[in-house]
């Protein structure tokens, strides 16, 4: 059935015939859903590979995954221009991928290698790429909000037409920096979209247990800031809502967008999420955005199961190539330890290694002088 539908929708001679507006629209819709799906699937498989890399002890530190957030990620990123800026938090691998950064460099960063986006200095939580205007990757909850607000201030200062998108988790809305930043942005009419990624849990604490106003988008009202809430499991809905938000920002007013999605696993790779009930876990599986979109593609006759299976195999093969690259990339040389002490070099900057003494007159050689 799905094959037949697909054939009637896409006759082989369609390019030679004049297209009707509705056909055009249907094709664009189909292509868009497929593009979203491909990207979401890629993020899904990338994150699963990262989780494996973590359990293999190839990835250290903390590792927070975008599993369940894929539709939100691709929907949000689809509306940004290359010149727009993104500030995000520590659950950002998918955003880096969707922003267009080479996934090999993202995996290499997870592995702490020289080819990593942050040259092995940042790790999972601190992905940064100037060329793609992804300005971090921040590990401190709420830390990115004042920074993003300042980036919007710089755009406004120079009368630029870029905007800033600043994403955060639901727990961040209770941090002082959230309120200080939204107030400043509204007061100064800054071109910024604040996006609350509401996956209902700040680590193990639910929104209801942490937020006196659990409908988080309503907090915009305190700053007379336009705000909206959207279903984060549907990439088309996310993109539409984000488009509106971005247009408001480009017109010089901040916007607060709440995207409600799921977190399929624990807070980080090592969290078994025992605080979740079996019913919750079952519901999560039912609402898995990647599976939901696959079902939709099939139901709408845009793709069949075999096509999706082939796509998955391609993605998995690609992920293995990425992984091979990351594993082969060298660790940063120890001699580069002080390369980023300061952007403007100054005298007496310490380059002492832990076991070295300060001065030459001591048994081991001095490091600073």
């Amino acid at each position: 059935m799905t094959d037949r539908k697909r054939t009637t929708r896409k006759p082989p001679t369609r390019a030679a015939r004049p297209k009707t507006a509705s056909k055009d629209q249907a094709e664009r819709h189909a292509q868009r859903l497929l593009d979203f799906y491909r990207e979401m699937l890629f993020i899904r498989r990338f994150e699963e590979r990262a989780a494996r890399g973590y359990t293999q002890a190839l990835i250290g530190g903390y590792c927070h995954l975008n599993l369940g957030e894929e539709a939100t990620v691709v929907g949000l990123m689809s509306v940004l221009q290359p010149t727009d800026y993104l500030f995000t938090n520590y659950r950002e691998h998918g955003y880096a991928i969707s922003r267009g950064i080479d996934p090999k460099r993202i995996m290499a960063e997870l592995y702490g290698r020289v080819d990593g986006v942050s040259k092995g200095w940042g790790g999972s939580m601190h992905m940064f790429d100037t060329a793609h205007r992804m300005l971090g990757g921040y590990g401190i909850v709420g830390g990115q909000l004042p920074l993003a607000t300042g980036a919007a201030l710089a755009i406004d200062y120079r009368s630029g037409d870029e905007i800033v998108m600043c994403t955060m988790g639901d727990g961040t809305t209770n941090i002082g920096a959230f309120h200080e930043s939204l107030n400043i942005a509204a007061l100064w009419n800054l071109p910024i979209v604040y996006v609350i990624i509401n996956n209902r849990l700040g680590m193990g604490t639910s929104v209801e247990r942490s937020s006196a106003e659990p409908e988080l988008y309503k907090r915009g009202a305190a700053y007379r800031m336009e705000s909206a809430r959207v279903d984060g499991l549907d990439p088309v809905a996310v993109a539409a809502a984000a488009q509106t938000a971005v247009e408001v920002a480009r017109a010089g007013r901040p916007f607060l967008l709440e995207v409600v999605c799921e977190r399929l696993r624990g807070h980080s790779v090592v969290d078994p999420a025992k605080y979740r009930t079996p019913e919750e876990v079952a519901s999560l599986k039912e609402h898995d955005p990647v599976h939901t979109l696959a079902a939709r593609l099939i139901a709408e006759g845009i793709a069949d199961e075999q096509t999706l299976l082939t796509l998955d195999q391609e993605v998995l093969a690609n992920i293995e190539e990425i992984n091979t690259f990351a594993e082969a990339s060298p660790f940063p040389d120890e001699g580069t330890l002080f390369d980023y002490n300061y952007a403007s070099p100054v005298p007496n900057d310490s380059r002492r290694l832990p076991g070295q003494s300060l001065f030459d007159n001591n048994p081991s050689s001095g490091a600073d002088q």
Binding site: G116, P146, L147, A148, Y340
Partner: protein
């Protein structure tokens, strides 16, 4: 050279740097309409407008962080935090962000910004408004911390800080704003990371920064005039990086040191200076390194208690004499040191 106050030197330098580079802008509480709590920014709103002299809500974390973000995009914000006590509200942005961004992202983003903020006690402002907590920032790699004690250094270090591509904490002091001195007319930046020997001598080395460098010079001059003592004075000027070489070279020459600081003694800036002397000049010392620092209490309001808590000029003179006595004591036991 022009004779002017420390306050005037700061004001004039902000103005001339804003004229020089349109990426330089000022941001902080009450700096525009109110003209600054200590009037450093008087008249600048009128001259440069709201875009470049930006009054903020009372939101230290928010506006300091916004300045960091603006700096990441290439602007050169000069933040005024009304007093260093209030910088604690912004410490996450300063320590976890401004100090980290350049290194943490592998050198991809610079943070060319200045945070001007005064410390200082002695004004009966009580426990929360009289602290000297520059140590909190001097401790952190990625930051630069400078502490000028004279109007000339206020100018030269502020120029250097504004033109520097790293976040610089620029420590001022309430007691210094009205002090006067000769200021060069040219716009030559100081070198951040270098101490200055502000008086040469050989009896002992007196070390201070900010207000205490001013006090050190004054006392050394007095003791030279009245007692014939020849004391070397070091003004640290930069707390990070710390110019250990200048300190150690001086102590190798004088064989004794007294360190002056307005902060608390335990774990304070002076502790690091003393440890550096121990590392670099241990064999040259003729007396224990002495520190004169604030008493370890929250600053009391009452004048009598406040005065008792703060280092006085007499405390400094006593510490100098006791150190000289200690040298004499050692000399009688071990023979004269050449």
């Amino acid at each position: 050279m022009t004779l002017m106050s420390y306050r005037q030197a700061l004001h004039d330098t902000l103005r001339s740097e804003m004229l020089r580079d349109e990426n330089v802008f000022l941001i902080g509480e009450e700096i525009g309409v109110f003209e600054g709590s200590y009037k450093i920014t008087a008249g600048l709103l009128e001259e440069f407008g709201e875009k470049r002299v930006r009054d903020t809500p009372i939101a230290e974390e928010g506006f300091t962080g916004a300045a960091i973000g603006a700096a990441m995009l290439g602007l050169r914000p000069v933040v005024e935090i009304m007093t260093i006590n209030f910088s604690l509200l912004a410490i996450d942005q300063i320590v976890n962000h401004a100090a980290k961004i350049y290194g943490m992202f592998g050198g991809q983003a610079k943070v060319p910004m200045v945070i001007r903020t005064p410390g200082g006690g002695g004004q009966q402002l009580g426990a929360t408004h009289s602290q000297n907590i520059e140590l909190y920032y001097a401790f952190v790699p990625g930051l630069k911390v400078v502490a000028p004690s004279t109007p000339a250094d206020a100018k030269a270090l502020l120029i250097a800080a504004i033109r520097d591509d790293d976040p610089v904490i620029f420590l001022e002091n309430l007691a210094l704003y009205n002090t006067k001195g000769e200021v060069p007319d040219h716009d030559t930046p100081a070198v951040i990371g270098q101490a200055a020997v502000t008086r040469e001598g050989h009896h002992l080395t007196l070390i201070g920064y900010s207000r205490m460098a001013h006090v050190a010079k004054k006392i050394a001059d007095q003791l030279a005039d009245h007692e014939g003592l020849d004391i070397e004075v070091i003004d640290l000027r930069s707390l990070r990086p710390l110019d250990r070489q200048t300190i150690v070279e001086s102590v190798k020459k004088t064989h004794a040191a007294v360190i002056l600081e307005d902060d608390w003694l335990t774990y304070g800036i002076g502790a690091e200076v003393a440890a550096s002397i121990s590392d670099g000049a241990f064999d040259y010392l003729d007396a224990p390194v002495r520190r004169v620092a604030m008493a370890e209490v929250p600053m009391p309001y009452s004048k009598s208690l406040e005065s008792a808590a703060l280092p006085s000029e007499n405390d400094v003179i006593q510490a100098i004499y006791q150190t000289l006595d200690a040298i004499g004591h050692r000399r009688t036991k071990t023979g004269p040191h050449d």
